[in-house]
Point group: C2
Chain length 114, copies 2
DNA sequence: TATTTTGGTATCCTCAAAGATACTAACCCG
DNA sequence: CGGGTTAGTATCTTTGAGGATACCAAAATA
């Protein structure tokens, strides 16, 4: 492996972690794994997130094509958030992150016992 | 899937993203995927990271058992950072994150063309 | 012995992410 | 018509991650 490639490698990882990192983005994508949701459902699921932050993060994810936003023209006050095709492709990674976090917790508990 | 389980699901993901999220943690773990490294090698690889931040993040990763720190008793001014057993188990996930980020970049370029 | 390298500390500062709180236009339901 | 719900905005404030800069003791090296 060349130096340049190594360098690019962690730059890519940084990019990925900016997309789904931070306090809420990963959680939002996770919440949408189960099923499409409306704003209020997301807010409930991610409590104690605030409207302001949820709006901002949803706009970010929309701009980065990770979610689709169906602002139904007919019944106006209803907006559906769903994974985009590419957004749903991070589902498996998220599941692995979850499993890894659970394993991590167990390992930390082991150390605390000793 | 029950509501409670859904709730736990994204909490776990948030935990994982705290462990390897932020500006540098994922990159450090990535850099250590290739081979064990010394402080100065990490600093070079992760340029423009500062000593202060690198130290802080390494201590965090050490406390969370994701890396081992070999402070060689014999030759004192030499410290080796390596993945712990559990730390190395996030290697595959990191590779997938990298692939996913690369794919994301391509997709965004597609949209810009149109 | 002098100099450089290594692996850090010590302070101070900035800025952006996130929270608290209040408010609102449009709709929908009875 | 009136009250509640939906999907947000508008301000203001806080917090802490991360950066800039300077400094340092111990060890290696020349």
């Amino acid at each position: 492996m060349q130096d340049i490639e190594k360098h690019l490698l962690h730059r890519d990882v940084q990019d990925a972690l900016e997309l789904i990192g931070g306090r809420w983005r990963g959680a939002i994508m996770t919440s949408l794994c189960g099923s499409p949701k409306r704003f209020s459902e997301l807010k409930e699921d991610l409590k104690p997130i605030t409207s302001r932050v949820l709006t901002k993060e949803l706009r970010y994810l929309e701009q980065n094509k990770l979610i689709n936003v169906e602002r139904s023209t007919a019944a106006a006050n209803s907006v559906l958030y769903t994974h985009s095709e590419h957004g749903s492709s991070c589902g498996p990674i998220i599941l692995q992150l979850r499993d890894w976090a659970i394993k991590h917790r167990e390992i930390m508990l082991e150390y605390l016992k000793e």
